[in-house]
């Protein structure tokens, strides 16, 4: 049934393409209905899922001569991310309700992106996974290039180039693995059992891992992320940070780490070091940004560092922390981008923190201020929100494997508090005296009230973060048992539990 998440999205694309250009409201409704449908299917699948199983959704030959199958399946990890995609998709549409320019195309690209993402998370055949991965890249480019702002062509091109370089690396690695393993199958379950030679793993692992990690924003390959996030329209930044970066992290876990455990063992320290540099560096750069959206963009780099660090701790607790952090960051980053891109930028028409400082936005848009305070608290990793449980587990895992790095990460957390507070103070609680003739002052009168879809979206995302923060068992009970499946045998072989 979960396959319908993919089908509904692409069905939405088809219907949208058939619509006349003028049918703006219908396009919006179809986009929303399709995203909501996906979310409901994901939720149903989540409820029916039995913890610990690998649920085969559909499996039929596709290119029999090459052993390629159309194989959709899900375990606890992919299911968590499918649920995240559903939530982020609905959230994104709620926050792009006011799109006026080429509406039907926007939603068509949007749904195609969503469909591709669902596909990646559900593919258990690596060829199929790669196809969906590529499908997700193309609409991203167009969404940013057409509907973006602030150097949108540059941002879109940079994003696309980085993505393509990454996927080229992945492709080489996958083909090599396919050939080395005898060319019978691309099924991840079978390849996971194949003992690749050590020498091969030593170069294939970094190739595939970095290929995926580029999309996860691993330092020093992260530079596409801030520019891309900033250039993208709100809904796209929400998806980029919310789910597309997770595609990369998911690929690292599902492909690179599963297939090449020995390579992982050899390279893990390097990955951990890069991850921690990402955490601290991203936070430090976020601390000095002038553009509000860049702050959030770099904070994403910092938070994704936690995901990568959790992945290479190679113990259950760190790994479940990494998956939880993927989910949590998807929700929180989405919310932050919604506040900055939709609520603030489209009303104040600027994202310069120094200009916003003079506007005293807490008066002009209290709802946005409250939302940002809550989202900021969640992003700082304050307990009670999902980010805390996730980062807590990552840190426990890291303490076990890399104690020094765990302590350095602590510094990153403190800087994280500092940049969030700084952005919050400047953007919403600024108190620079504004002269009556100042241009900024006129904006006060123009600012529309926060609309109902925005309120709904914010409430949904905050609610999810709180629920998971206070009762993480909802997800952990699904994530943790899946580490016992044959796909995670390397975890036990690694020695530490």
């Amino acid at each position: 049934m979960l396959a319908w998440t993919v089908y509904i999205s692409f069905l939405g694309v088809l219907v949208l393409m058939l619509l006349p250009k003028t049918a703006v409201r219908e396009a919006r409704a179809i986009g929303f209905a399709s995203a909501l449908g996906g979310l409901l299917v994901a939720l149903l699948g989540f409820i029916e899922f039995k913890a610990g199983e690998i649920l085969t959704i559909s499996k039929c030959p596709w290119v029999p001569s090459l052993g390629i199958e159309y194989h959709l399946a899900a375990d606890g990890v992919s299911l968590t991310l499918v649920l995240l995609t559903g939530l982020a998709a609905v959230g994104g549409i709620l926050f792009s309700w006011n799109i006026e320019h080429r509406v039907k195309e926007f939603f068509a690209f949007y749904l195609a992106l969503i469909g591709g993402v669902y596909g990646v998370f559900l593919s258990f055949d690596l060829f199929l996974l790669f196809v969906f991965y590529e499908i997700a890249i193309v609409p991203k480019y167009f969404i940013i290039a057409i509907w973006g702002s602030t150097r949108k062509e540059y941002g879109a091109m940079k994003l696309a180039l980085y993505s393509f370089v990454g996927s080229a690396m992945v492709l080489i690695g996958l083909i090599a693995a396919y050939v080395v393993s005898g060319g019978h199958s691309m099924n991840v379950l079978e390849l996971a059992q194949y003992p690749f030679p050590r020498d091969f793993q030593m170069w294939a692992f970094p190739l595939v891992f970095v290929g995926f990690a580029i999309l996860a924003g691993m330092w020093p390959f992260h530079t596409w992320a801030p520019t891309g996030h900033v250039a993208a329209p709100t809904a796209a930044s929400m998806l980029l940070a919310g789910v597309v970066m997770k595609l990369g992290a998911y690929g690292c876990l599902r492909v690179a780490m599963t297939l090449f455990p020995e390579g992982l063992e050899a390279w893990k320290t390097w990955v951990a070091v890069l991850a921690v540099i990402g955490i601290v560096y991203g936070a430090m750069v976020a601390l000095v940004q002038k553009d509000f959206k860049f702050v959030i963009g770099y904070s994403s780099v910092s938070h994704m560092g936690f995901v990568l660090l959790g992945l290479v701790t190679l113990n259950t607790i760190g790994l479940s922390g990494a998956v939880l952090q993927m989910f949590s960051h998807g929700i929180i980053a989405g919310l932050l981008f919604a506040v900055v891109g939709r609520m603030v930028y489209e009303r104040a028409h600027t994202r310069e923190l120094s200009v916003l400082e003079g506007m005293n936005l807490v008066k002009a848009m209290p709802f946005a201020a409250v939302t940002f305070v809550i989202a900021g608290a969640a992003s700082m990793g304050l307990p009670g929100f999902s980010g805390f449980v996730a980062e807590l587990q990552v840190l426990i895992g890291a303490w076990k494997t890399f104690p020094t790095l765990a302590v350095i990460t602590g510094v990153g957390i403190v800087i994280g508090v500092a940049y969030t507070l700084r952005a919050m103070q400047k953007a919403f609680f600024g108190e620079v005296e504004v002269k009556p003739t100042n241009v900024c002052d006129e904006h006060h009168h123009e600012m529309d009230a926060i609309s109902v879809p925005e309120r709904l979206g914010a409430a949904m995302l905050i609610g999810v973060s709180l629920v998971i923060g206070l009762y993480p068992r909802l997800l952990l009970d699904v994530i943790v048992p899946s580490f016992d499946s044959p796909l995670f045998e390397w975890l036990k072989r690694g020695g530490s539990q």
Binding site: P403, Q425, R473
Partner: protein
């Protein structure tokens, strides 16, 4: 034991009423009325709790324990012993006082009172939670309302003060978090994922298994050097210590405090100094002392030294200040320094000598009392400062006043009583705690106690200076029209003043409840 989950109700009540009040928007009168009603209801509930507390036992009571996140060893675990109960009572007492002191707040009143109630909920949670995860939620969440109360309603320099306050506390919290994660990892067994429950950790420390676990399971190589087991445990202890030392604060981690207390509106400072500062001392008593007795003993000399420095220097700094709020802020550091002095002195001896047991429980009783009394007295003093600010239009420097006794005799009299209570005059509440602390500390750590007496002397000087410069001397003509306390204000302020006398003359009211807890704590310290 009562069937009702009364501790949960006490914590949730301000949270729920805070949410309702936040939704009231512009209905200021309703908002503050509801806030006051809610804080009085809390007080009533806590008094019920106080009545049904079994004073004959020093054990944890009103226990509620449920599984929360089993994979992380996280339980929903609340209970109070004498110490927890005392702190809950203090919170319940100071919140309505602060609400009344800020009665006339104009700017977004409903939000203000909602934040005050959220802060109260955070404090209740901190003083009752006994599982690290659960406790840490409240410990951190009480920061957010406090931050905004300072940030939005504070004085001219409020923005840097609030940020400094938040970031300093967060540095401590992160260090503490990392340390607890290490403990969690080390206590992992086949049957449990690790231990976060405070009483269980304390029991493990008591029978020595915690140290063994910490030394066996944790290894850390840094730059090619292997940390020894001893260094490792000290490091973990240091992390937790930093978290609490910033909060109390222990010098040299105090620099956030004067700015924050001075910039916060006085009603908020009442909560900050009255209750929030006790979170740190509470942490020392509930977490550091039971879980890390050996490490504390090992570090006793530097720690005692820091406590003495905190006591003496903060008293001298208070003497050098001119701003009333800053004087009282440093005086707060000074008073809590005595608590830390006693805690460190108690940690110094772990022998089984029965005579020392008496001294130790005297010192601990003193700490408990001092926490409560300082909370009451400091909150009252800041209330008076709030009234002075209201009348003087924000002026509060020592040099701005003079001779107020002539125009406002009742004001002068009542504030004088509160000042003398702060000074530790016998017959008032401040005396009992300090007396018990010194009674306990002298035999345990004679030298430190002797040096700390300097702090007492300087305190006397700066308190008398306040009286002298503000109330005595020639009347500053500017204040000829300085209004005395109104009848209503007199009625409200007489409540804490009466309490000061009552607790000073009959300290048994509190001692009866906390006595057995102190004995129990001393008993558990032996290892």
């Amino acid at each position: 034991m009562s069937e009702l989950p009364i501790l949960t109700i006490i914590t949730l009540l301000p949270l729920v009423s805070g949410i309702i009040i936040a939704g009231l928007g512009e209905q200021k009168k309703l908002a503050r009325g509801l806030a006051l009603a809610s804080s009085f209801l809390s007080l009533a509930l806590v008094l019920v709790l106080w009545r049904s507390f079994n004073v004959a036992s020093g054990e944890l009571q009103f226990v509620e324990k449920h599984e929360w996140i089993p994979t992380l060893g996280v339980n929903y675990f609340v209970a109070v012993d004498g110490l927890g109960l005392l702190m809950v009572l203090l919170t319940a007492l100071v919140t309505p006082m602060a609400t009344l002191a800020m009665w006339r707040v104009e700017k977004s009143a409903s939000l203000f009172f909602a934040l005050v109630l959220f802060l109260q909920a955070g404090l209740f949670g901190t003083f009752t939670a006994l599982n690290f995860f659960h406790w840490f939620i409240f410990w951190e969440l009480s920061l957010i309302p406090a931050f905004f109360l300072v940030r939005l309603w504070g004085g001219a320099q409020r923005a840097p003060a609030a940020t400094q306050f938040f970031v300093y506390t967060m540095v401590g919290s992160v260090a503490m978090l990392l340390a607890f994660l290490a403990i969690f990892l080390a206590t992992k067994t086949d049957s449990a994922p690790g231990v976060f429950d405070f009483p269980q950790l304390a029991a493990m420390a008591h029978d020595g298994s915690l140290n063994v676990a910490l030394q066996d399971k944790l290894g850390w190589r840094l730059l090619g050097m292997e940390f020894t087991a001893h260094q490792m445990t000290m490091l973990i202890f240091g992390g937790v210590l930093l978290g609490f030392a910033v909060k109390v604060p222990l010098m040299p981690f105090h620099t956030w405090l004067p700015a924050t207390y001075a910039e916060a509106p006085s009603g908020v400072t009442m909560l900050l100094t009255g209750v929030m500062s006790k979170m740190g001392v509470y942490g020392f008593l509930r977490i550091l002392l039971p879980i890390f007795p050996e490490q504390m003993q090992w570090l006793r000399t530097p720690l005692l030294g820091l406590a003495v420095i905190t006591i003496v220097f903060s008293a001298c700094a208070a003497f050098a200040q001119r701003d009333l709020k800053r004087i009282l802020a440093y005086s707060s550091i000074n008073h809590l320094g005595y608590c830390l002095l006693a805690v460190f002195a108690v940690a110094k001896f772990s022998g089984n000598d029965a005579a020392l047991d008496t001294e130790k429980s005297a010192a601990l009783n003193g700490v408990f009392l001092q926490m409560f009394n300082h909370g009451l007295t400091a909150a009252t003093l800041f209330w008076f400062v709030a009234l002075i600010e209201q009348r003087s239009g924000g002026l509060r420097s020592l040099n701005d006043f003079g001779g107020l006794r002539k125009v406002a005799p009742i004001f002068c009299g009542l504030m004088g009583i509160a000042l003398f209570s702060s000074l530790g005059l016998p017959g008032l509440n401040g005396f009992v705690g300090e007396f018990l602390i010194f009674k306990g500390v002298f035999p345990l750590a004679t030298c430190s106690a002797a040096f700390s007496v300097i702090g007492l002397l300087v305190t006397a000087i700066f308190i008398l200076t306040i009286l002298q410069r503000v109330f005595n001397g020639p009347l500053n003509e500017k204040w000829r029209g300085f209004p005395d306390l109104t009848l209503g204000e007199q009625a409200l302020l007489s409540v804490p003043i009466v309490l000061m006398f009552a607790l000073g003359l009959n300290p048994q009211i509190l001692l009866g409840v906390i006595g057995n807890t102190a004995v129990q704590m001393v008993e558990r310290l032996k290892f």
